[in-house]
Subunit: 321 residues, 2 copies
């Protein structure tokens, strides 16, 4: 490829080297029922089995592993999987993370993050945005920010999931990837198309949070504020300055799925594949089962991005079969 | 071994041959958190990922695959995982199964079994026992009964899970196995001790359904009627005529766990390992996490026997963390 991005395939290979023996090479699971329903041969890369329960650990560890030797503190903002990922990476690398988290973040997530030894700074969503607060703090304290997706080392780390998947299943022709801020999708497109130029990498987004689909189609960055979706990993307002150009150039398409399709996919993954998958993690399977993607007997890879769902949270989504 | 049983290691190897390419060689998963909490290196053989969601498919397919050529019908009794396993095996082998199921069996299980094309004969628990009804029908129709556990081909089939586990993880020193009627435990002891004579195979049972533990300790077959436990796969009244002598001779021990320990293990498997596991499937992890087994830094194998839990059923078991 002649176009140059903030991240290249060599960065993803370097990330894979750094993650070797630290991150899990997560299993790739298949299901005869899924194949039948999707009319495809489907390979699910289960990042729900990644450390901290989501792919986010890959990027976080890669980013924290590359801060200058003298930097023993980092700052980030997240109420979700990135927070836990940075917290664990920090504890493994002996770097103290401070995490800016909304005051109304779920108690269980706050606790899990604190349990890894991270400092947590609560803020009031109505008074400030997390980005502004982070920049203020970073300046005051002179420590680097590790943002959730728009950072070269984060993107490179997230690309290692697709690298592993295509190494184990080189026959994959279509690859479905959840899309929020685009860290996973941009890293995946870079890895997948470097390995296999003809592969079709398709982002999947909730229909109610379709900023990436709009941006991809129009070529201009669209923003959606406070999108209403159960897929909390895809509630990001827009793609990033680094992720957007990569996705725009290398992804084949971005499709959207309904909330019902997401719930149906979670239920299918639970009942038929015995997998605990969070709503965002079910986006790819939702696209297959709801017919948004016509797989046409192809070999389809799906990245199941995470599995952080509280025990007992499922009933709210349950519906009769 | 000089003692002779109804089943030998050669039968388990033959079963593995028959199951090759039909049953799933299920993944073995590990968790750093589980290792830490159990003070051991733990290898979970996840039969929740087996076809029909439980190890029962192994025995059922092995048994149906060995009926005489002319036999195109079989009879069984089960309201649970064995019913679905026989139904799927029958459909794959072109054998028509008839399944005697209590009239009050969960609708979802009746439907799943019927969906594989099995005939279902409902009966009234208060009027007759399933064994009596099955023998009556088998005589009338001249077709063989494939019981849920007390049958050489069932035992041999169930033993293939341990065979796979020890082939992939030969360092295992202790092996924890859920125990109901003892089909899985007897097959596992036969396979494991043939491969590795010093291995300690330990059955795990709910404390409220401790017939196997009592039988193992006393040497006489104990019976518990209608045991109250959420582990429905362990509600069998007693070990079988074939399974008991094998377990008595080859198992190292049978331990019991509380209902709270079972629920705690399910919650751990859900939240930390992202696995949907049914109560019976969680027995081994319950023994480890509740300290009933002192693992003492050993390499411990755990057979997670199944994952058939309805979506939305979890909340009933949920408790605050």
């Amino acid at each position: 490829m002649s176009v140059s991005f903030a991240v290249g395939f060599e960065d993803i290979r370097a990330a894979a080297g750094l993650l070797q023996g630290v991150a899990n090479n997560t299993p790739v699971l298949t299901s005869r029922t899924l194949d039948m329903r999707a009319n495809a041969r489907v390979y699910c890369k289960c990042e729900s089995f990644q450390r901290t329960g989501a792919f986010k650990f890959r990027g976080a560890y890669n980013a924290l592993g590359r801060v200058p030797e003298a930097t023993r503190e980092v700052l980030t903002f997240s109420s979700g999987n990135h927070a836990q990922a940075v917290a664990l990476a920090g504890s493994l690398l002996d770097i103290q993370p401070t995490i800016i988290m909304p005051r109304d973040a779920p108690e269980v997530k706050r606790k899990a993050t604190a349990a890894y030894g991270a400092n947590i700074i609560p803020y009031d969503r109505s008074e400030t945005t997390r980005e502004v607060l982070a920049q203020q703090l970073a300046r005051e304290r002179g420590i680097p920010i590790i943002p959730p997706y728009d950072h070269p080392h984060i993107i490179a780390g997230q690309g290692t999931a697709a690298l592993e998947l295509l190494q184990s299943q080189p026959s994959i022709e279509v690859l479905l990837v959840p899309c929020g801020g685009g860290g996973l999708l941009s890293g995946t497109t870079l890895a997948a198309r470097a390995i296999q130029p003809d592969i079709r990498v398709i982002g999947v987004e909730p229909a109610t949070a379709n900023d990436a689909a709009l941006s991809f189609k129009s070529g201009t960055l669209h923003t959606v504020h406070n999108p209403q979706t159960i897929a909390d990993g895809a509630r990001t307002p827009s793609l990033g300055a680094l992720t957007f150009p990569i996705i725009r150039a290398l992804a084949h398409d971005i499709v959207v799925v309904s909330e019902d399709a997401i719930i149906g996919a979670m239920q299918f993954l639970w009942e038929r594949m015995k997998l605990v998958v969070e709503p965002t993690g079910a986006l790819g399977v939702a696209a297959l089962l709801s017919g948004v993607i016509s797989a046409d007997r192809k070999n389809v890879g799906v990245i199941i991005s995470g599995g952080n769902v509280d025990f007992g949270q499922a009933p709210a989504w349950s519906k009769p079969t």
